[in-house]
């Protein structure tokens, strides 16, 4: 399974780079959709059907909206010229990447093996959640009982996003 996951994640990285550098914005969106649906396959393989359902629906809706935006505006990517500032920012990001890999390499030794996580907190959830909450689906039981504040925050984020879109995008005011 790890080999399959590595292949999928590797092709997702390739698709993400292709999405950044595509000349045609429509092909960039399709490459970005490949990243999203690859994530769906990863979730299914890692046995997380709840996340997979949410990801596949949200990915489809955002993809449709972005295709509509691109078809209505322009399919051409903006032309970029290479000047001194761009060279400086690229150099800085490369430096940051090397620094990050250095510290990640030092930290990776103390991590557990892949799929072999430490079960200090989640063990209590897995063993007791079904009896305590009465919910067969453990994910929903944890979401709405042990981590109610967390879920309320997520719902508020979506609420705020809708209000923000309504505020910014409205041309004519309401009477």
């Amino acid at each position: 399974m790890e080999v399959m996951l590595s292949v999928i994640i590797g092709s997702m990285i390739v698709a993400a780079i292709a999405a950044i550098h595509a000349r045609d914005l429509l092909s960039a969106i399709i490459a970005q959709g490949f990243v999203g649906y690859g994530l769906v396959i990863c979730f299914v393989m890692l046995r997380a059907p709840d996340l997979a359902i949410v990801q596949i629906v949200v990915e489809t809706i955002t993809l449709v909206i972005m295709v509509a935006v691109v078809l209505d505006s322009s399919r051409k990517e903006l032309e970029t010229v290479i000047d001194r500032r761009q060279v400086a920012t690229t150099g800085m990001s490369l430096l940051f990447l090397v620094l990050l890999l250095f510290f990640f390499n030092r930290a990776i030794g103390s991590l557990a093996r892949f799929g072999d996580h430490t079960l200090r907190m989640s063990e209590a959830y897995v063993t007791g959640a079904a009896e305590q909450t009465g919910s067969i689906n453990l994910v929903t039981g944890v979401l709405w009982d042990f981590r109610g504040y967390d879920t309320l925050g997520e719902a508020t984020v979506l609420f705020t996003a809708a209000i923000g879109v309504l505020t910014i995008i409205r041309l004519a005011g309401k009477k």
Partner: protein, 142 residues
Amino acid sequence: MSVIVKKIAQLMSSLIFVYGIYIITHGHLTPGGGFAGGALVAGAFILLILANGSEYVRLKRQEEGSSLIESIAVLSALVLATVGLAAGSLVFFNNWLPGGIPGQLISAGTIPLYNIFIGMEVAAALITIFLALVIYKEEISK
């Protein structure tokens, strides 16, 4: 769009809508829940609008309605959580309704109610964002 696309979209969107309602109400039994089901319900409406064009729905009224439903759903989730504070021990998000038999549709106390409210909220928020973009496009082209 052509007649075929319109008819297929009308048929499919009803199925998608029912499936979304199923995912929301069975959130405590099967994978899924308020977020996934709400996004599915919103997808049914977005499919209808995309297939039939923006004249199919009266945009302004729909947007006002979805915005209202969104606010009411968040408010009722908060009220339900506050009632949990008042009933029983002093815990916000207290599961104060009787648990019932695990595995049945009506069980798990307040969790199905939270799922329904969040499903309404997510569906209404996604439809509001989509309708705001459609209205913006129409106002731009005028």
